[in-house]
Amino acid sequence: MMRAYIDALVDTLVPGDDTLPSGSAVGVSIALCRRLEPGPDRDPRLQAALEAIEARAGGAPAFCRANETARVEVLEQIERAMPESFGVVVSVALMEYYDADVVLERLGWRREPPQPGGHPLEPFDERRLEVVKRRAASWRSS
C-alpha cells in the first residue's frame, strides 16, 4: 500500500494544529504499515478498512489529491459502513500519536512514565472541612 496514501490518511485522522505535529510527522504511518505486515500484530480489519477507504476514494492517488474536506467525507462514509474495522484504524493511530514524546510534551505533559518520579501534591488541608464538620449526622438509623 503506497506510503503517500497512508500519510494522507493518518494526517486526516490526526491532523495536528499550530502546537501539535501531524500524525505522519511522529511516526503514526510507520506504525500503521507495520500492523499490515504478516505477524502477530496484524489485524485483518485494518487491511479491510484501508482497502475500503481507497476504493471509496477512487484509488489511493485520488485520496492523496483530495482536499481535507473530501477526505473527511470519505472517512465518515467508511466509518458508518464498517465501524468496527474503521475503529481499529483510529485506535492504532491514536495510540501511536498520543504516546509520542513530542506530542506529550506539547500537551504540557512529560515523556517519562508515572514511576518512579510520581508527582508532588500539597497535603490535605483539613480547614476546608470546617463547614461540613458542623453538619448534623445524616445517616439513617433504623
Binding site: 501539535l20 502477530p40 504516546d99 514511576q115 518520579g117 488541608d125 461540613v132 439513617r140
Partner: protein, 528 residues
C-alpha cells in the same frame, strides 16, 4: 486423576474475599489445613507497566480493566476467561490472579451505610440483610487496620468510625476546587477512605501521586491483598496453589466433599475437604456453582439478581489548569448529600457523587467525541489538564432477570462459557439522571464552562454483586447469614455475590469485612 491429601477447608479464589477469609481462619483456628486454589498467578510489581515507556497503551490494552479487552490483546498477566457481555450495557471489569481485583482497583474504600442493610424495612425495596451494619462494624474496623486506610474520621454521613490509620490523601487543585464548590452549595463532601498509603505504613511506601492505579501499584502504596492478607496467611500455614483452575465443586448427598481442578500443567486433581469456600466474584462464583449443578433456592437463584453500580460521568471543562493525571485516579473526595432516600426525588435509595482525576492523554483521547479529525485534536488540547470528572454511582436493586448464565459449550479453561443478561432498570436510569444533574450543578459552581455527560458509562462494571445473595428464606436466597448455601450447608460463598442489596458505594471494604465475619462464624465449627 491425582487424589491430593484432604484439607479441612478449600478456598477457591485469592482475591479480597478469599484472602481475608483465609487469613482470619488461620488466626482463629491455628493449624487448620486450608488450601486455596487460584486460577492466576502472583504479579511481580516489576512487571507492572507504570515504570515503562508505552504504559499508556497498557492502560487500554494488556492491563485494561476489562478481561475481554485483555484477551483481545492476548495478555497473559491476568488468567482471564471470556465473558459474553453483549446483553449488558455495563461491561464487567476484574482481575484474575493472586490479589484478585485489588491488583487493579482504584482502592476507594467506603463502607455501606446502616440503611443499606435495611432497604426492605426502610424503603420497601430489595431485601434486608440478615444482619445490621453494627453487627458488621467490628469486622470493618479489623479490615481497615489490616488493609491500611488513609482518611479522616468524623464524617457526619456515617456512624462514628475509629481514627483512620493514615491522614487523607492530597486533594490537589482539582479536589480543592470541587470541595469549595460543595461548600458553596452547602452539600456534604468528605475526603475518601482510600486503601492507599498517604504515609509509609505496614512496610509499604507512601503513594507518590503517580496516577494510574488501575495498572497496579509498583510502589505497593496501594493496598492489595497479595501484599497484605496473603503473606500473613501463608506465614500462618495456609497453602496457596496458583495457576489451578477449579472446574467443579463435588457434592454428595447434599454436602460438599471437595473440588476437581486442573493444575498449571493441565493435570486433573481431586481434593477432598470438610468445607468448600467459593470466592470468585459475582460472575466467577456463579459460573462455578452453576457448572457444578448447584442452583440453590426455588427459583434456581444462583446467578440471578446480578447487581452492578450503574455509573455515569459528568465531565466539566475549566479555563484554568487543574492537575491532569496527578494523584490516585479514583481517590479524591465523595459526596453523600444524596445518598439516603428522599421520596421527593422520584425514586428511593440513593446516589454517590465521587470526584475523580483525569486520565492519561491517550486514555482521554480515546474517549473524546468525535474520536478523530481536526476537532478531536482541538478538543483533546482543550480538555487535557483542564477537566474534572464527577462519577455518579447509584444503587442497583436486585432484579431476577439480571443474571449470570452458563452455556453448553466449554471455554478454554474447562468451565462452561458464561454470559451476562442485564438491563438497566427505570429506577437506576432515574437515579443516574438525577445524579448527572447534581454533578453538572457542582461542576458549573466550580467554574466549568462546558459539561459533557456519559450515561451509562459502559466500562464501569467493577462491582459484581448479588448472584448468591444472603437471606433467611431458602426460597428467595442462596446463602444464609454465615455465607453458607442453603442447599449445601458446608459450601460457603465469600465475595460480593452474597450481597442482598448493593448500596451505592464501592464494595471492597464490605467484602473484606464479610469475609472476616464468615471466617469467625466457621471458626466456631472448629470449636474456636
Amino acid at each position: 486423576m491425582i487424589h491430593d491429601p484432604p484439607a479441612d477447608v478449600i478456598v477457591i479464589g485469592a482475591g479480597f474475599g478469599g484472602a481475608a477469609f483465609s487469613w482470619r481462619l488461620s488466626q482463629r483456628v491455628p493449624g487448620v489445613r486450608l488450601a486455596c486454589f487460584e486460577r492466576g498467578g502472583w504479579i511481580n510489581p516489576s512487571d507492572m507497566p507504570a515504570s515503562s515507556r508505552g504504559w499508556q497503551r497498557a492502560v487500554v490494552g494488556a492491563w485494561s480493566a476489562s478481561p475481554n479487552q485483555r484477551l483481545a490483546c492476548r495478555s497473559a498477566a491476568s488468567a482471564d476467561y471470556a465473558i459474553d457481555d453483549l446483553e449488558s450495557p455495563i461491561k464487567p471489569l476484574m482481575w484474575s490472579g493472586v490479589g484478585g481485583s485489588t491488583i487493579n482497583w482504584s482502592a476507594h474504600f467506603p463502607r455501606l451505610h446502616p440503611s443499606d442493610f435495611q432497604t426492605r424495612t426502610l424503603d420497601e425495596v430489595g431485601d434486608d440483610w440478615p444482619f445490621s451494619y453494627f453487627d458488621l462494624e467490628p469486622y470493618y474496623d479489623v479490615n481497615d487496620v489490616e488493609t491500611g486506610v488513609s482518611g479522616l474520621a468524623g464524617d457526619p454521613a456515617y456512624p462514628p468510625k475509629p481514627a483512620r490509620p493514615m491522614p487523607p490523601l492530597p486533594l490537589g487543585r482539582l479536589g480543592e476546587r470541587a470541595a469549595d464548590a460543595f461548600n458553596e452549595l452547602g452539600w456534604h463532601w468528605w475526603p475518601v477512605d482510600a486503601a492507599i498509603n498517604s504515609v509509609p505504613h505496614g512496610g509499604r511506601e507512601a503513594c507518590n501521586n503517580c496516577g494510574p492505579c488501575a495498572i497496579g501499584c509498583v510502589r505497593r502504596a496501594k493496598s492489595s491483598v497479595d501484599a497484605t492478607y496473603w503473606p500473613k496467611a501463608i506465614a500462618a500455614g495456609v497453602e496457596l496453589n496458583t495457576r489451578c483452575v477449579v472446574h467443579e465443586v463435588l457434592v454428595e448427598a447434599g454436602r460438599a466433599t471437595g473440588v476437581r481442578y486442573h493444575d498449571r500443567d493441565g493435570i486433573e486433581h481431586e481434593r477432598r475437604a470438610s468445607f468448600v469456600v467459593v470466592a470468585g466474584n459475582g460472575i466467577g462464583t456463579a459460573r462455578l456453582l452453576l457448572a457444578s449443578n448447584i442452583g440453590g433456592g426455588a427459583d434456581n437463584a444462583v446467578g440471578r439478581c446480578l447487581m452492578f453500580h450503574p455509573a455515569a460521568y459528568a465531565r466539566g471543562m475549566f479555563r484554568d489548569e487543574l492537575d491532569g493525571p496527578r494523584g490516585p485516579v479514583g481517590a479524591v473526595l465523595y459526596s453523600h448529600e444524596f445518598y439516603e432516600t428522599d421520596q421527593q426525588r422520584g425514586f428511593v435509595r440513593g446516589v454517590q457523587l465521587q470526584v475523580t482525576r483525569e486520565n492519561a492523554p491517550l486514555v482521554q483521547a480515546l474517549r473524546v467525541e468525535p474520536a478523530w479529525g481536526r476537532s478531536a485534536v482541538r478538543r483533546l488540547r482543550e480538555e487535557f489538564r483542564h477537566s474534572m470528572a464527577v462519577l455518579i454511582l447509584v444503587e442497583d436493586l436486585p432484579e431476577s432477570h439480571n443474571r449470570v448464565s452458563i452455556g453448553r459449550e466449554r471455554a478454554a479453561d474447562g468451565l462452561p462459557n458464561v454470559k451476562l443478561h442485564y438491563r438497566l432498570s427505570s429506577s437506576s436510569a432515574r437515579m443516574l439522571e438525577f445524579g448527572l444533574a447534581r454533578a453538572e450543578e457542582l461542576l458549573r459552581t466550580a467554574g466549568a464552562y462546558r459539561v459533557v455527560r456519559v450515561s451509562p458509562a459502559p466500562y464501569t462494571g467493577w462491582h459484581l454483586l448479588g448472584t448468591a445473595r444472603m437471606g433467611a428464606d431458602p426460597g428467595r436466597s442462596v446463602t444464609d447469614a454465615r455465607g453458607r448455601c442453603h442447599a449445601v450447608p458446608n459450601l460457603l460463598v465469600v465475595d460480593g455475590s452474597v450481597f442482598p442489596t448493593a448500596g451505592a458505594v464501592n464494595p471492597g471494604s464490605t467484602i473484606g469485612a464479610l469475609a472476616l465475619k464468615f471466617a469467625d462464624d466457621l471458626a466456631r465449627e472448629f470449636g474456636r
